[in-house]
Amino acid sequence: MMALAFHLQVVNLLAALLLLISFAMLSQRRVVGLVTLFAWQGAALAVSTAIVAGTTGQYHLYYSAALTFGLKVIAMPWYFYRLVRKLDVNRVVEPLINIPTTMLIGILLVIFAFNLALPISEMSGTVTRSTLGIAIACVLLAFLMMITRTKAIPQVIGFLSMENGLFFAATSATYGMPLVVELGVALDVLVGVFVLGIFIFQIRETFDSLDLKHMEKLKEK
């Protein structure tokens, strides 16, 4: 029992870390910094999933933790670093809304997320249910980041970080989705990043820039 309580505290700590990293991502101006934060977020997610797997005996979560680690801590950050170096896009970029305002909106989102999660986590029987609010908050913060960024790579990192939040929600509310589904989701994410890689080169070739401000021609007149 002692061990369980201790493990739970570690999971809660990691959950708090996830939330902190989400805020750090919101305030990060450089693309490389964003990629590093994304890797750390993946690491926190993988470790907390592994701990939940160990304490609750849900061994399929080990696979999911390994998958997260392999994809989101090693493969994708490596790929993004390479992409950023190759395309030379690591400059300071100002988001659409200035950062203090974004942070304030972020805090409101967190409050909203905790309210949304309250009724669900009360019904949940998992030991980790208290972290569901944090998971939803991570999803919403990632969403906010996608809205406020105008560059291609930050938008996609926002998308992937949203997916991290969803995985965390699945782990805290139900000890993860069935393994087949998790594998499928991971495959889709992998293909998605691959498609994105091709795509970014196409955009670069055509516009000479990865700034999505060039891509606002298609509007309703």
Partner: protein, 483 residues
């Protein structure tokens, strides 16, 4: 067994065409694979009609009359679109808009896309359904940007990001569904199987399910193109190659709506109220009205018909939202009619834009003078989609509107107004394109006419006479949706 082939053929086709590359007969091979898929789909359909719903492969796949009807429709339109894309892509290549490498990408992705949709339709697992929907999106992202023009890249990026966010919301909805299911069915792979969920739907936690449905509806609804989440749709349809517009409009939107409907059946069972139906009616009605007024303002022909797709998907969503035997029947019928008619229109529009060298409606004139069959194809298709009798769209729209008058009279004026506005706008714009004066040359190749007239013939036939076995089949499917 049929199921194995049904999913295996497109997948094998995708791999084969990726390896086969751009040799001269790649388009024919693409059509051949699609034909084989259609043949298998017909066998499967015959079997389901004869012996009723079945669960295959340890419960992983489930086929009943609702999804087998969509499987048949998907396979049919996929085949005719492959036929259409043969001359179409050849002309595009001669115009220098495409090179061999991109054609290889096109053919391989096309087959993968069809395979992903068929997987989404036949799987019994709500999680795999999500995975297949996302796979279908990813397969088409690079097709939308196939021409690599700035506008097409922008459209594809929008498609990628918006549908990605939408589908992430649907994933959250699926997680909530699993959360509710796991309490009743126990953890593990079986808790997301639709047949199991359907068996215990009355015991699922109502608050969680209603929240799950909101996420699923918004998530998959983005893919259906429901307003206000529709903004990717006209761009992707207008900037991608026309065969891709035809399958996106005719098939992908249906499959996304299928996902919503599967969720709705579960939620209705758990809640015992019509919360899900009311939400769908709201989104549907908003889409119909908004799209009708936006149609008026379009100058690009493919964009205009893309908005018309939003309008019709809204109408179908509205019909399913009303629920009940008649409305569900009408919704299913309208799904069929819209798929067939809209893809036929896109086939005709595709050749018309190739001929004029532009998608601007002001510059497309007098089709009937130089390519009479093409002109008539576009005109008849337009008349059909606008719901003029005796085409089948009339029958389904009539059923939807009369049901709305009975059950929800407040909605009728909005529907009639929107349909009227759309009619005036589309007809007014297509008429000079078909009959006006022209100095445009004929097309260098014979355009693909069989697919256009095959589809329109089917729509006409279904408008005049629905064969009894088909009507019984629709009724059965409508019943499954809670009629």
């Amino acid at each position: 067994m049929e199921l194995f082939w049904l999913l295996g053929i497109p997948l094998a086709g995708g791999v084969f065409l990726a390896l086969w590359g751009c040799r001269r007969n790649a388009p024919e091979i693409n059509a051949l694979f699609s034909f084989l898929t259609l043949a298998v789909a017909s066998l499967l359909t015959a079997r389901i009609v004869e012996s009723g719903p079945m669960v295959v492969g340890d419960g992983w796949f489930f086929i009943d009359s609702f999804n087998v009807f969509l499987v048949a429709l998907t396979a049919l339109v996929a085949f005719t679109t492959a036929l259409f894309s043969r001359p179409y892509m050849r002309i595009e290549q001669e115009h220098g808009r495409l090179n061999a490498a991109r054609l290889r990408l096109y053919h391989a992705s096309y087959q993968i896309f069809i395979g992903a949709m068929l997987l989404a339709l036949t799987t019994n697992n709500m999680g795999i359904l999500w995975v297949a929907m996302e796979a279908a999106t990813l397969a088409t992202v690079l097709l939308v940007s196939l021409y690599r023009t700035p506008a097409s890249l922008e459209a594809a990026w929008k498609y990628f990001i918006l549908c990605g966010v939408g589908i992430a919301l649907a994933l959250f909805g699926t997680i909530l569904l699993y959360f509710a299911a796991e309490k009743v069915l126990g953890p593990g792979g079986t808790a997301l199987l639709w047949t199991h969920l359907n068996g215990v739907k009355a015991q699922l936690e109502p608050t969680v399910l209603s929240l799950a449905f909101v996420f699923l509806l918004v998530g998959y609804g983005t893919k259906v193109g429901l307003a206000p989440l529709h903004s990717w749709l006209p761009d992707a349809h207008a900037e991608g190659p026309t065969p891709v517009s035809a399958v996106l409009s005719g098939l992908l939107l249906n499959v996304a709506l299928y996902a919503v409907m599967r969720s709705k059946v579960l939620v209705d069972g758990a809640l015992g109220t019509d919360m899900a139906g009311s939400l769908m009616m709201g989104f549907g009605l908003l889409s119909v009205v908004l799209a009708a007024f936006l149609i008026k303002r379009q100058t690009d022909v493919k964009r205009m018909f893309a908005y018309s797709s939003i309008e019709h998907m809204g109408l179908i969503t509205f019909a399913f939202g009303m629920g009940g035997a008649v409305a569900n029947f009408a919704g299913l019928l309208h799904m069929t009619m819209h798929s067939l008619t809209k893809s036929a229109i896109f086939f005709a529009v595709g050749h018309a834009t190739q001929k004029a060298g532009t998608q601007l409606m002001d510059d497309i004139r007098g089709l009937i003078r130089t390519n009479p069959t093409l002109g008539w194809g576009l005109m008849l298709g337009t008349i059909a989609i606008l719901g003029v009798p005796p085409f089948g769209v009339f029958a389904s729209e009539f059923l939807i509107i009369t049901t709305a008058m009975h059950e929800h009279p407040w909605a009728t004026p909005f529907l009639l107004l929107a349909l009227g506005v759309a009619f005036a706008a589309i007809f007014g714009k297509v008429q000079p394109m078909v009959f006006g004066e022209t100095g445009l040359p004929r097309l260098p190749h014979q355009p693909a006419q069989t697919p256009v007239f095959l589809h329109l013939g089917l729509v006409l036939m279904l408008g005049l006479f629905i064969p009894p076995y088909l009507a019984a089949w629709y009724r059965q499917a409508a019943h499954l949706l809670g009629g």
